[in-house]
Symmetry: C2
Subunit: 179 residues, 2 copies
């Protein structure tokens, strides 16, 4: 789907990413999207682009991964008139939930999605940054377990050197900026 995107949008995003060396751990170059989120015109342009994707605008629900993914999910949900589903770190959602553990770029994590709200629904999954793809892959499994039909995945920024896309094969994956 990325072929249909305006290439100048990638430049808009790239100009609003801030590189933070050694965060949250030594050796990790953190991509801070705060300047992008704080720029209404730029962030709206990102959401507009995602909202034009059939897999997004046909969805009943937009699922976002805690915590920055919530920002993308809620703005996109507003744009396509969908509901929002939170994908959360373990222990944050009240029962009933389904959960999964997985490996992160640095460390491991356990995530949960709520049960009962998403069964039989078309769900579009979003996050801010695609790194190794571990979180999104685990989320795809959880959404399927909870009975959702995942229509596609979108991220604002894909860190292609981490090969996260390879872990998400078989899914319609859109990245607004690939670096």
């Amino acid at each position: 789907m990325t072929g249909a995107l305006d290439p100048s949008l990638a430049e808009v995003i790239a100009a609003r990413l801030r590189d933070v060396p050694d965060f949250p751990q030594p050796g990790v170059l953190f991509k801070d999207i705060a300047p992008l989120l704080a720029d209404a015109a730029a962030f709206n342009a990102c959401i507009d682009a995602l909202a034009e994707l059939p897999a997004a605008y046909e969805a009943d629900l937009i699922a976002g991964v805690e915590a920055r993914g919530f920002v993308v999910a809620a703005a996109l949900a507003r744009a396509v008139d969908a509901g929002v589903v939170p994908v959360r770190k373990a222990g944050k959602l009240p029962p009933p939930t389904v959960s999964a553990s997985y490996q992160l770029e640095y460390g491991s994590a356990e995530i949960e999605v709520p049960v009962g709200l998403i069964e039989g629904k078309k769900v579009y999954l979003v996050d801010d940054v695609l790194a190794t793809g571990g979180t999104l892959k685990a989320t795809l499994g959880l959404l399927a377990l909870a009975g959702a039909e995942v229509t596609g995945i979108a991220v604002l920024v894909e860190l292609s050197f981490l090969n996260g896309r390879e872990r998400l094969t078989g899914h319609d994956l859109t990245a607004l900026l690939t670096i």
Copy 2:
């Protein structure tokens, strides 16, 4: 400002809250807003109501408190054409930040806001639920420290028996549902 809100909206919200006893700790009655967020029409109606408030639509930025506050902030930012500022748990935001510790309804916490993006900006602060008001009060202090002008505060649900409103006096505080 609550006097200008449609009273039927409160009923819409109340019908989509789920009481979860003893979560996250024994003795706490958790108000689960997931059914509200997943209902596009109901959640949009909440955001529409907030977007009509002058303090919201005149803001440059909408600040949301991690993590559910991000959902409200991003949807409202989309509605009023503002940017989004994340208020995060300590250690999640890259430097430079300002931080503050405070007491929660259960336990204590430390939060941070980014420095540099919000100085001189009009910021509207939102969260999902107003409980004791500790988080929002701490956030107000941080936003001021970072040079922002806070135009007002909104929550979807106010738990009035916890008297959080008393800790936020002097601010324009809107709650879409007070219980």
